[in-house]
């Protein structure tokens, strides 16, 4: 069977969604493990960030790959959504359900909101539209000019609004993962039970929980427990 007719079939589109989903899960996990190094102090986090920056062209290759994976995931989602809507032009006047979940029913919404957050997050930290963060990203003096990522994170999360938005986005991501991380096994034919309990569901819930708790621990530590407060103060003072 040709690859194109396979990919454009209803099963193929879901397989694209599942495989790109796995790659995005790996990214989310790696991103979280990288960020958690904030708890090991400024040197550790900043040297990890400098190490990533030091990858040079390879870093751009990884970024392009991730962008392509994200695009595939979104395109597959659009196809599934359009085909589903077309398959039932007249809705039920009394809709009902037996065992589907809230997470499964809201995948499109949670996915779209996480995507919107992702764009905001990139603009906020990478493109940097906040002058206070820009000063930390391009510090004067010290050679070579490594951004002080630790200070940037602390400064960013010191805003209650930023932290709240971040935490909300993590909860949405967790909701998305709680269905997606289980659903992909069925889509790829690796689940052997139908809806009946499977270790797959446990894995998805644990993975989603891990990501939410891990990622939310940082803004909570900054906002409520003053993580990096003294460090940021000394950096800002030195400038």
């Amino acid at each position: 069977m040709s690859l194109t007719s396979k990919l454009t079939s209803s099963i193929g589109a879901k397989a694209v969604m599942a495989v790109s989903g796995v790659l995005l899960m790996l990214f989310v996990l790696g991103h979280m493990l990288g960020n958690l190094q904030i708890f090991l102090g400024p040197e550790q986090l900043n040297s990890y960030a400098a190490h990533l920056q030091g990858l040079g062209p390879l870093l751009w290759l990884i970024r392009l790959f991730l962008l392509a994976v994200l695009a595939a995931h979104v395109l597959a989602a659009i196809k599934v959504w359009r085909d589903s809507a077309a398959a039932r032009p007249i809705p039920y006047s009394h809709p009902g359900s037996v065992q589907t979940t809230f997470a499964a029913r809201t995948m499109l919404l949670s996915g779209a909101l996480v995507l919107a957050f992702l764009i905001w997050h990139l603009v906020h930290f990478t493109v940097v539209n906040d002058p206070a963060l820009a000063a930390l990203k391009h510090p004067e003096g010290a050679e070579p000019h490594h951004p002080d990522v630790y200070a940037m994170v602390v400064a960013g999360f010191s805003h209650g609004g930023v932290s709240l938005l971040y935490i909300l986005a993590q909860i949405l991501l967790g909701l998305h993962l709680s269905h997606g991380a289980a659903s992909l096994f069925q889509t790829l034919g690796l689940r052997r039970t139908g809806k009946a309990p499977s270790r797959v569901d446990l894995f998805a819930k644990a993975f989603a929980g891990l990501i939410v708790v891990g990622n939310c621990s940082i803004p909570i530590a900054v906002l409520l427990f003053g993580l990096g407060e003294d460090y940021l103060f000394s950096v800002l003072h030195a400038q």
Partner: protein, 243 residues
């Protein structure tokens, strides 16, 4: 029992339809759901009103002709039960019951609650058969089949093709039906031979008919009157990706 029915009425395939309120009186809890509709129709005919059209044939849960979305659940509230085997004791006196046809682009309404399910027939024609002569009944016993495979084939073969899976799927997907038909033959040596060709042809026809994709809501297996497991969907996905 007295009931308030909200029933979809539609004069013909290209006519507009709407939900209509019809009172059902003198209903016994021993009646089946379809006998309840028979009684309502008797009363409607007596009053000179067009009776409610609905699909039915065997009325013993084996042919797959009856349908009906009852309060949003395909074949109603009783698990593993077709509408013809559902009884009015599952409802309370004074209940409001919403009765709608299967909703799917691939199942156009013919009249009222009757839908055209020939899309399923075309999927079967695309590959849901064994095209070699496999002999008579005694020949089947000459090929040993592992017990587990025989059981799985039998579970899948229990599909009566009613279309409840499509009707209940939030995406209007026919994956449970198609995977049951494919899985039933794939687990037997006689069917295994043409498995890949059958799989490709039936999936292509399924997409062509306009059924939706599967998002793993598992609503299909929950309403299936034959309790067919969505594990067959997983098997179909795996084999489709591999072939």
């Amino acid at each position: 029992m007295e009931l308030t029915l909200h029933v979809w009425r539609q004069a013909g395939p290209d006519q507009p339809g709407r939900m209509e309120i019809i009172r059902a009186t003198g209903i016994s809890e021993d009646m089946s759901f379809l006998e309840m509709l028979d009684k309502v129709n008797d009363d409607l005919i007596r009053d000179g009103v067009e009776p409610i059209h609905f699909d039915h044939d065997c009325r013993e849960g084996i042919c797959g002709t009856c349908s009906l979305m009852i309060n949003g659940i395909a074949h109603g509230p009783e698990e593993g039960t077709t509408t013809c085997q559902l009884h009015m004791r599952s409802f309370q006196d004074g209940d409001s019951i919403y009765i709608e046809p299967w909703r799917s682009r691939a199942f156009p309404v013919i009249k009222d609650l009757v839908v055209d399910r020939s899309a399923f027939d075309r999927i079967m024609q695309a590959g849901g058969y064994v095209s070699i002569n496999v002999g008579a009944a005694p020949d089947a016993n000459s090929i040993p089949v592992p017990k587990e495979d025989a059981d799985l084939a039998f579970d899948a073969a229990a599909c009566i093709g009613c279309g409840a899976c499509v009707a209940s799927c939030p995406n209007g997907s026919a994956m449970l039906f198609v995977s049951a038909k494919i899985g039933h033959l794939a687990h037997l040596p006689q069917g295994r031979v043409e498995h890949e060709r059958r799989l490709r042809a039936m999936v292509a026809q399924m997409d062509k008919e306009g059924f939706g994709p599967c998002s793993n809501h598992f609503e299909c297996e929950a309403v299936c009157p034959k309790e067919i497991s969505a594990r067959f969907i997983g098997e179909m996905n795996r084999d489709f990706i591999r072939c």
